[in-house]
Symmetry: C5
């Protein structure tokens, strides 16, 4: 269904912390973009050699290292070693089917989330996993493809005097997750529009088959929900725990983020129920049509079957059928047949079938 | 479906606190009405220039500033600056698709709710978002349209010696939310009446198609529930938290309000289940009708098909058909046909189809 | 459906504590019955003038004031003033659509519950709201109609040496609520009997239409549940809180009451699921019947349509039809037709349709 | 359905603690069996006169008094007085429709549970209520019928040196409840076997009507669940509370018991969903059969109706029908009719109906 | 359905701790494999005589004793005595239908889990119960069959310098449970693939009957869920409790394990809903096909029934039928019949049936 939902599970029995890429390769090459910023300056450059990452760790300015493409295990491993990230976390980053979550570990915060995009013309949901490692003054973000999903934040970071510049990397983390959640709104709204289109088509449509699109909507709601429900818990952990995000300054933003996630969930829940309701309506309208088909058949058949019988009777070849010789018999038979047909029609009218 | 349920989501990636109107313009112009009141006097006037709001902040009497129309971002921003409202809250006010909620912030309380009205003759649910900012001695309320929804409270405020006059702005906030919830009762009752009408029509009705109205009822219940469930939590926050509403005096009123919200929810939950039950009944009655149609067809067909066959047999043109020459053959065939028909009718009677 | 379930909602925007009767007038006149009792004596009299209530407040013996009929707002208001009942509580008493609840207020306890009765022959559920105000040594009870629902308690109170006499008004309150809950058992059992009757009729019945009674049962379960679920919480509040009912003596009785409410709820929950299951069975049996109807039609039609065709062929008037002149053609055609019919019957037997 | 599920509710308004038997008489006579045991000896005798119970109370050895048959209120009352059991508990013992529960009261523990047995050949669920009163050194158990349900425990008690002998009456209580729960496993397994039989019959069966057995299974699951869910809570109370069962020694056994109850519930929950799934399969297979019936009818009808029409055309008696005189017309008509029939068959083959 | 899901329940009334094998014998012989390991060496040998187990208990190195095959009660009993395992735990090990759980007992930890394997070609789910007893420096594991399910861990243990070697038996326990959970991912993914195949077949398939495979998928989801939900709680207990696994070192691994179990559950929950959705689609497509069948029948019948009647009319043998003698009557009748047929076709086109 959606690209990238099917992945091969890890081979059972590998030692924990064994790094292996689980998923589909989505990017041509792995690219590492670095932004070094503080209140005054913001330096953007591309890291050509992953070994240079040792230069990145341990500097004074805030650093955002963004990795797009996950299929090179060695690069992720090297980065992890530079920034002292535990192997269990690196393993989760490389498993693109991981559940959204937030972990507080002694040196930082680890967040996994799902990024969704839905091209209106394409009808399919694009999903990729994004993960974030927040340390003292650095944030490492990972995404599967090289789609520029964080471009708006990059732009704001390039703007001198923006709040992003002035605040620390925790605010940057918030902005990136918020961007992910903003896309949920877009996707959820597209789903909502489709539900309304389907309703329209069901009640006033031209009989095309809507079973497949209704099923697709239901599946997409299930799929989105599976990504958003754990994110709700993850944001809750970020708000509650006494980690690097516990500072008072960032809390109102996280509360706002949590409100947004709740709103997405409320809408998804409603859409799920709407999907079920649509199927009910679809099934009912199928029954309706069947009823209509049957009524047409029944009306035609019950009108003509009796009068065809009458015609059959006078088609018999008995020698002694007195009626056959009566001069007014033929018009009389027509009369009888018309009366029978009219009585049937009246019966159907009484039953409100016509 | 309902006017105003469809809105375009905010563009992803804007910085938090960026003010932009999300929704449909519902009012011609933005109007700001101010009521200054204390125990003795109540001054009502219209604020022509939003810049005059600086005069409003910091006075001694209680002030209620009501803004109808949200499409002018600059006005909301200016007001927010006058009363030192955080930008994240202003952003929520301007997002007309926001989830009902209550926030306690250091200088006040912020409440978002949904106002519903249902014109009995119109069948559609009118919704607009209302939001309230409660400060030390002022209350700012926002609504999307210029419909006079708070007129009853305005009247009571104009009455000298009323409790509203004597109490502070927290009591005014309670009264406004209570008014919103009172309208829920009206809407929920209208929905209940329609459910009863639909039941009546389903069991004793004249066969009109009820699929669309049943679906509409179910959708309205979902829609209302999405607005009322978060309001329940919001009222819970108002009651629990140690904010400006924690005073002992206002608590019984908030408890009463909470009771009302619970009652609306109970009724909505029941109505939702009734909606599902109605659909079940509709589907069953469709099956019933199909059964009836099929029975009519079957009875007519199974009576006439065999006797038409008999007539067909004696319509054959074989030279050597002895029966054709027997003088009593024709009445005998009639007798046989009548016996067959009567046997069929007895069979159907035994099966209780007729 | 049930008498008295439909009520007009309160007009939106009235000040809190505004007394107005919401519901249907159920009693001719408002009657106030008073029982003054202590261990030795029990005085029962009718209060003709509500103004005499000032004599009732502040005496030493236990007093039970029972008001039947709620349509006279002035009487309730006067009583409330005598016993210093807060207006918000009086408002709830007069709103006959109120949700069952228990409130502990500084001077007493306020309980709302729903009384149900179901006349076996009537099939409809009779509901009325009862409410109780418990003060230091008085209990005021309200009911909508003048049906003598509390007669058994009244009798026990008249019996010298009964436990009711010896204990305080809190025990009296318990006895009255217990009586209300005892009636739930009767109603729930009647509903259960009807479910069994419906099952019987569905599996062994004579084809009457059971859709309406099944739907009615489901609706009654929903309706009862809406009254019992909040009562469960209300009894929980009575047991938990440190109010006038917190004394050790009354607690075992309240625990017993709570057990009963839980049992009613368990049964209701089961009955609700049984109602759904019955509808499933109904729909399945509809399908079954349809199948049977279709089989009869199909069997008759598929046997006679081919042989009618054969008869039709030899009814053609072509000049050159050699068969028509063969002397054994007519019996041969009969043979063919019988063979075709028998083959069809064998086919149906193989399919287990006959 | 199950014997003994229907009971008449208690008359409303009786004083709490009024003893009256609610249920069906299941035993001929009330029998009281006593086992006096300690580490060394175990004395079993029948108590002929209930008045002798005063001898039982207050002795040193452990005593198990088992009462089978509940219809003699006086006997239960007398026993209760001997062992100082509160009347509210005696009332619950006599109410055979009571919800399973555990009560800790100052002098002991009171447990109500439901015993189930299911005769494989009978298809019906036998239920009876058992209740237990645990005091310092005595256990009184009650059952409705005289079926020897506790025989295995009685045997173990008769075995010298068994753990039952060495431990106190709390261990005896555990053993009896454990026996009740062991029977749940048997019943639940029988239900599971029937579900598998039904599945088998649905997919490979011979078309017998399975609606009734599927419905019965669903009802039995509901019925069992209503008995097991409260028992789970009851065992939880026994484990948590600081009553006579709070000793460390009995706790592992109670934990084991709780595990068993959870397992029964898990299985029941699964079976309930399986029951619903079976009904879905049943309904689907009904639809399948209907489809097959309709296809047969449609194939036969659509093949023969057009060719019968052709035969009808040449059965017309117009004087000027040139075809009638053509010598090769008759075989040509046969050819046309065969072509039409073959085309129809190809059409059905393309549609995969045959 | 699945091998080994059906088991005979324990006989009711046995004393607790009575050891008896409940299940199906899955292994030819009971084999006991021992691995003695510390940082430097790892000794693997087979224990021929269970009595030698006394040598195993009380040594210094870490020991992993793995028992495959459970049908020899005496062996399990002997092992239990050697390592001082309480009989209630041994009873649970021998009951192969036990619910997954974790118990902390004073000398160790006891864990029950279900191992699943699903051969892609076989379509059936293989389940066996595994249980683990963790003591100070030993781990005893039990499995039902002799399938080498723990082979990967055995290999890692044989590798010098691996983390498994260096850490204690608690890490070994984690690795074994993790291996079990890894297999869940494989099974759940296989189920997911089948769901996608079924969807494909439903929407684009060739009409084969999918009722049985859909039902099987739903049942497998229920079955898996019943095993995974209690395991979630069991892992929670391992993490929470202050037992041998409470050390800081193992905690991140257990957290990782818990994440995995949650992810399996999320996926299962989604698959369960997908299974229901598939059934809905199946039922809808059945309705669709029925509709199509009915339409074909109706179109053919309603076109030919009226014109067959016309032919029948002119097949009548009345002497005075003027039309019969008109020379242009025959072509005129053909014209009428064609017009009627075309009108019918236009009517069906308007109804969008063709």
């Amino acid at each position: 269904m959606q690209k990238g939902t099917k992945q091969s599970a890890k081979e059972p029995g590998l030692p924990p912390g064994t790094l292996s890429f689980v998923g589909h390769r989505r990017a041509e090459t792995v690219r590492i973009q670095v932004v070094d910023y503080d209140g005054e300056t913001a330096d953007t450059f591309q890291l050509e050699q992953v070994d240079d990452c040792s230069n990145l760790a341990g500097r004074r300015a805030n650093g955002w290292i963004h990795v797009s493409g996950l299929h090179r295990v060695d690069i992720v491993e090297r980065l992890g070693r530079c920034f002292q990230v535990p192997p269990l976390i690196l393993e989760d980053i490389l498993n693109t089917g991981h559940r959204p979550k937030a972990d507080i570990w002694e040196k930082g915060v680890f967040v996994v989330a799902k990024f969704f995009a839905m091209e209106p013309e394409e009808e399919t949901l694009q999903m990729e996993q994004v993960s974030f490692i927040l340390g003292g003054n650095f944030l490492i973000s990972f995404q599967e493809s090289d789609r520029p999903i964080f471009k708006p934040v990059r732009k704001r970071l390039a703007t001198p005097g923006s709040r992003l510049r002035r605040c620390g990397v925790d605010y940057l983390l918030y902005c990136l997750i918020d961007l992910v959640v903003d896309h949920y709104f877009v996707v959820v709204e597209t789903v909502g529009d489709r539900i309304e289109d389907l309703e329209e088509a069901l009640f006033h449509g031209e009989g095309e088959d809507l079973l497949d699109p209704i099923h697709r909507i239901r599946r997409q709601c299930l799929f989105l929900r599976k990504a958003v429900v754990p994110l709700r818990d993850a944001v809750g952990i970020l708000r509650r725990e006494e980690g690097p995000l516990g500072s008072r300054e960032i809390q109102p933003y996280l509360k706002d983020l949590q409100d947004h996630v709740f709103q997405v969930l409320d809408t998804l829940e409603n859409q799920r129920e709407m999907g079920t309701a649509l199927l009910d309506v679809y099934l009912s309208s199928m029954s309706n049509r069947m009823n209509e088909v049957m009524k047409v058949l029944t009306i035609i058949a019950t009108i003509f079957i009796p009068i065809t019988f009458i015609a059959g009777v006078y088609g018999m070849n008995f020698q002694y059928m007195p009626e056959l010789k009566w001069p007014w018999a033929y018009p009389a038979v027509w009369l009888i047949m018309i009366v029978v047909a009219v009585l049937m029609l009246l019966f159907f009218r009484k039953k409100r079938w016509i």
